[in-house]
Symmetry: C2
Subunit: 231 residues, 2 copies
DNA sequence: TCAAAAGTGTTCAAGTTACACCCATGT
DNA sequence: ACATGGGTGTAACTTGAACACTTTTGA
């Protein structure tokens, strides 16, 4: 009994990955969508995805797709969920694994928007998507909201240098409410994971707001001592 | 261009599910393991699993396996993660999706322990497992610990009727520390999701401890009003 | 000079932690 | 009668929520 043939009685299935790509501009959470290039549903709005090759790790398929479509090398990406119902795709039996990823819109200019007909959509203006992609987006949003509370992943969506009002607008968007400016400041500053810079950003006010940077090393150091990020 | 043949250029892959089955006795978190019946690694300790049939939903494959091996119909089960590296299984390219599930040990007597050589292992006495099953167990443990804090899933592991000391022992085991008896009581009782019964359980003390039941309806009602379970 | 956003401190309520003694009962 | 685990209350502390005024500067 050869090992190689051990599993040969079992039937194989098509496997794909889909990527939910979030961005954040000054006020709004955004989602990157593409016009589908293959049938069925050719020309309709869709997440980006790809079939998984038998010779590549599932995760590599996602990295490959994200690089190809956003042009970004080091992209924040996490597994979300799989979608495995028999009839989820009228094109055939396909099990899809979804990754959500967070990108800085300002770094992703390299997206081949023209050739792929890619477009950023504000989160409350997303058009109907193919298959169960609406569900995937909803699941990704839920996960992002939950995760943003307990881990400093919001910084993945902001520019390297950001102002506290900008950061607050991110949490306002995530929570769909207006946090108290003073309490927010107090809390985030007291964590000691931000570095205040001497520069100001004047793009949203005359007075200008100080720029800050997220200190990932400091965060790791604190975390190893039991610190928990919570907003 | 027929829809059915749209995806036919792409290669299929073997897909399986694996189940991490947790139980809890009086003091210990336990894991149900089985001796593997097929090569490679025949006879070694393993999670239960199965290949996914092209005609069944992924989730149904997990339900099928859990029913078959534990004899329990309505089992608590949630998706955990997928494991998709090319070389994770020397028997062939197999992508596995793992579900973790919580069972009441007292309800699972029907497990066909003899024919399957199944055995409950205390969580700190788990033997080496095949493939990446050790990793799966670790991931499931992490998820269970995180989840047990914010959702009342601990009750899935306890008998229908349980004492507060018993419940506390569950959280002690999860957190690996000794919570304060009085504060624990105060907190869990004040949530208003437990029903106190008139019976006592004397199996662990002479005085006996009152039995309680989890009130799922009440919990749902409170949750819809914004209540958050946190221990 | 004024409109618009940025920055700052204090008070109060609520929740969490720490902690010590009595109760019931089987042996 | 005593050892063992079960049950209860209170005070100190920490954390989160609410809230108003001053500063800067471009137009």
């Amino acid at each position: 009994m050869s090992v190689v043939h051990t599993y040969s009685d079992n039937e194989k299935i098509l496997v794909s990955i889909d990527c939910i790509i979030f961005g954040f501009d000054q006020n709004q959470l955004n989602l990157l969508l593409f016009k589908r290039k293959i049938d069925p549903f050719k020309g309709e709005w869709s997440l980006v995805g790809s079939f998984v090759n038998p010779e590549e790790d599932v995760q590599n398929a996602a990295v490959r797709v994200l690089q190809e479509y956003t042009g970004i090398d080091e992209i924040f990406m996490e597994p979300l969920a799989w979608y495995g119902d028999v009839d989820r795709d009228p094109g055939g039996r396909v099990i899809s694994m979804a990754y959500y990823s967070l990108v800085r819109i300002d770094e992703s200019k390299v997206i081949k928007a023209d050739s792929y007909q890619a477009k950023w959509f504000a989160i409350d203006e997303i058009p109907p998507l193919i298959l169960d992609h609406d569900q995937m987006v909803q699941d990704a949003l839920d996960k992002l909201r939950r995760k943003a509370r307990y881990e400093p992943i919001g910084f993945e969506l902001l520019p390297e240098k950001f102002t506290l009002p900008h950061l607050k607008r991110f949490y306002d968007a995530i929570y769909q409410k207006d946090l108290d400016r003073r309490n927010f400041r107090k809390k985030i500053i007291s964590m000691g994971i931000l570095t205040k810079l001497d520069e100001k950003d004047k793009s949203t006010s005359k007075k200008g707001a100080y720029l800050y940077q997220f200190d990932a090393d400091k965060y790791e150091e604190l975390r190893s001592k039991g610190f928990n990020f919570v907003i």
